[in-house]
């Protein structure tokens, strides 16, 4: 007889009823799932298809595309990087500080401030790290993108992943990847210009919990420049409701260039990024829950460290366009 332990499982649906159920499962099924992915660790160079599963059992199988399980395609990504290089080098003139703090292997959660009506911080961070560190970066973002035809597919091909805790855990713990998250969410990008560089609440600290659970460090990144690329003058809430967008901004770009060009073109603000020291949490991974007060403290201290870095960088910045 195998030893049995209680297993809590969910039979789907049945709202309003207790969804925990009491089937029993032999102990061996409780093996840490992460171990089966142990083979996927190691140093990684850019053209990565880290899908741990596909083709693993069918040696003869050849893929007709390089789309990994997240929907990311390295070939499309490299085309996009080639196209973006001009903007990165000459338009936004991106400068990094402390890039060596990005680990060359192992999972890590990159956490940054978020700004601009159509934020340029995400593509710039992803581009910069992929080009100079040589690792793919998966950008966690609102599931809103997933529901858009064409744009949603492109977003996912270029490394976008719906920000679900399970997705983040799998990326960080099982596949030891780099994931980028903006804890401010749309609260950051929907700020009007007068509120620039004042960080919003960092959600409910979910990003800290995920990093603890996955046993990976958080690497805060402070970004200066994004606020000036597409500053919001005011917002029209009724239009946001009507269109289903998270917010409906009237940007300075719109007022100057009209709705088409004003949406497509960001102002050429000078970008400066500073990678802060990695934050390690000395807690055991894979716990069901972590102390909420500890989580909120860590979340707040990361927010404060990014905020202070921003003030410091702004104090040294001469002009938003020239740096």
């Amino acid at each position: 007889m195998q030893p049995k332990i209680r297993l809590e499982g969910t039979i789907c649906g049945r709202p309003g009823t207790d969804t925990k159920e009491l089937l029993e499962l032999p102990v061996m099924a409780q093996n840490n799932r992460a171990e089966s992915f142990a083979s996927s660790k190691g140093n990684t160079i850019v053209p990565i298809k880290r899908s741990t599963d596909l083709g693993s059992q069918n040696v003869n199988s050849t893929r007709l595309s390089d789309v990994d399980e997240w929907g990311r395609s390295e070939s499309l990504r490299s085309v996009a990087r080639r196209g973006f290089q001009f903007f990165y080098d000459s338009y936004f003139r991106v400068e990094w500080e402390g890039l060596e703090k990005i680990p060359t292997e192992g999972g890590a959660l990159l956490v940054s401030n978020h700004a601009g009506a159509i934020p340029m911080d995400a593509p710039i961070i992803m581009h910069g790290i992929e080009e100079s560190v040589g690792r793919p970066v998966y950008g966690l973002a609102d599931h809103f993108f997933r529901k858009l035809p064409v744009a949603g597919t492109m977003w996912s091909r270029l490394g976008g992943v719906p920000a679900h805790p399970d997705n983040a855990y799998r990326l960080l713990r099982d596949q030891r990847q780099l994931a980028l998250v903006f804890p401010e969410g749309t609260k950051g990008t929907s700020k009007v210009f007068t509120q620039r560089y004042r960080l919003r609440r960092f959600g409910r600290g979910g990003f800290v919990e995920i990093a603890m659970k996955a046993g990976v460090p958080i690497i805060p990144i402070a970004v200066v420049g994004s606020e000036e690329t597409m500053p919001i003058v005011f917002k029209i809430n009724s239009l946001a409701k009507l269109t289903g967008l998270p917010y409906f901004p009237i940007t300075a770009n719109w007022l100057l260039m009209g709705p088409v060009l004003g949406t497509a073109l960001s102002f050429p603000a000078k970008f400066k990024l500073r990678v802060l020291d990695p934050v390690h949490f000395n807690v055991p991974p894979d716990q069901e829950r972590y102390s909420k007060s500890r989580v909120m403290d860590e979340s707040e201290s990361i927010r404060v460290s990014i905020q202070e870095a921003l003030y410091d960088m702004l104090a040294h910045r001469g002009n938003p366009w020239l740096g």
């Binding site: 195998q2 297993l7 719906p162």
Partner: protein, 358 residues
């Protein structure tokens, strides 16, 4: 850990899965008796399985359980393809059928010690808020939108209640992903065989498949091993739908992203493409179900998702070239009765002792 002389009752013997599972159970020497129920006759040749005609809601089931003293019930007769029948009948089979089945299995003094149920990954639903992978515990994010999902969710609810009320019964619930295979008819196999791959414009979801042989193997695995709990059963990995179409050489038919269901219903009218709402939803967001729990128990898949697609494409190309193989078997009561019961038939040793019990 095998119990000698297992006695198995199988629902849906006349369906594809029922027949396949019965065939595979027949080769198990420790399975003494296989009783298969259905409204329709079996479509595959069976050596020693006894066929009982019953209505879909199993009103005579408790009598059969008592008479045959079965210890294992394999419930394969869950409809997971809504194109096969009307909603009313679907409800009767999935919900009322499962309810009656479990009532019979749980009555006082029941000999039943094991129940294996074939369900579907459809119970997880499909929405933009879903994680990439569903584990057995991941709750669905939205309420069931389609009749098929609703029926499967309530059938699983009855099973959960049954498992709680009957702790002495080992309950195994298997949830399968979309199945591909040359013999099985699903919306995917039908449409791809006709050379079409309907899609929703601007979406290229990550899909997961399982080969039909792996489905049978998984049910067999669950029947022969003592594996209580819920298990996802699906091939490894996910593949973009566009790649599936490419492998199968199917033509992309893009439906508009708005009003998709309306245009799909027009397409369904033509009879060429039968994609029901639950599959359309899959073409928007895709779905992955994490199969690692069953693998941890030692189940080995023959095919990954990609492997299942490739195998399907290969057999389709073959049957295009040499024509469909004709089904040569039709059930005949007198013939079956002769082969099963006549003393004139020389039986192999393994089934020798068992055939007398009927």
């Amino acid at each position: 850990m095998e119990i000698l002389g297992r006695r198995v009752l199988l629902t849906g013997l006349g369906t594809f899965w029922g027949g396949k599972v019965a065939q595979s159970l027949e080769s198990h020497p420790d399975v003494d008796v296989i009783v298969g129920m259905d409204v329709t006759e079996p479509i595959v040749e069976l050596e020693r399985t006894e066929f009982v005609r019953a209505d879909e809601t199993y009103s005579i089931l408790s009598r059969i359980v008592e008479a045959t003293q079965v210890d294992t019930i394999v419930h394969t007769f869950m409809v997971v393809d809504s194109t096969q029948m009307r909603t009313r009948r679907l409800h009767e089979i999935n919900v009322i059928g499962t309810m009656n089945l479990l009532a019979a299995a749980g009555c006082a003094g029941t000999p039943v010690r094991r129940v294996i149920v074939k369900s579907s990954g459809l119970v997880y639903g499909c929405s933009g808020r879903d994680p990439l992978w569903f584990s057995e515990e991941t709750p669905r994010t939205e309420l069931p939108q389609t009749a098929i999902e609703e029926s499967l969710v309530s059938a699983e609810g009855y099973l959960r209640d049954f498992a709680q009320d009957n702790p002495h019964v080992t309950v195994t619930l298997l949830r399968f992903s979309s199945v591909l295979g040359n013999d099985i008819s699903t919306p995917f196999t039908e449409t791809l065989s006709r050379g079409f791959a309907p899609s929703i414009f601007g979406f290229d979801p990550q899909l997961q498949f399982i080969d039909e042989d792996d489905v049978v193997a998984a049910i067999e695995f669950a029947t022969s091993a003592d594996v209580p709990g819920i298990y996802n059963v699906a091939g490894d990995g996910l593949i973009p739908w566009s790649e599936v179409a490419k492998i199968c050489g199917a033509t992309n038919l893009a439906l508009p992203p708005i009003g998709t269901e309306f245009f799909a219903s027009l397409m369904r009218r033509t009879g060429l493409v039968k994609f029901p709402p639950e599959v359309l939803q899959l073409l928007r967001f895709g779905r992955g179900i994490d199969n690692s729990r069953l693998k941890d128990l030692g189940f080995v898949y023959k095919y990954s998702s990609l492997g299942a697609v490739e195998r399907f494409a290969k057999t389709r190309r073959l049957s295009k070239a040499i024509g469909e193989s004709q089904k040569s078997y039709t059930y005949d009561k007198d013939v079956e009765s002769f082969f099963h019961h006549s003393p004139a038939v020389v039986r192999s040793t393994q089934s020798d002792s068992t055939s007398d019990t009927f």
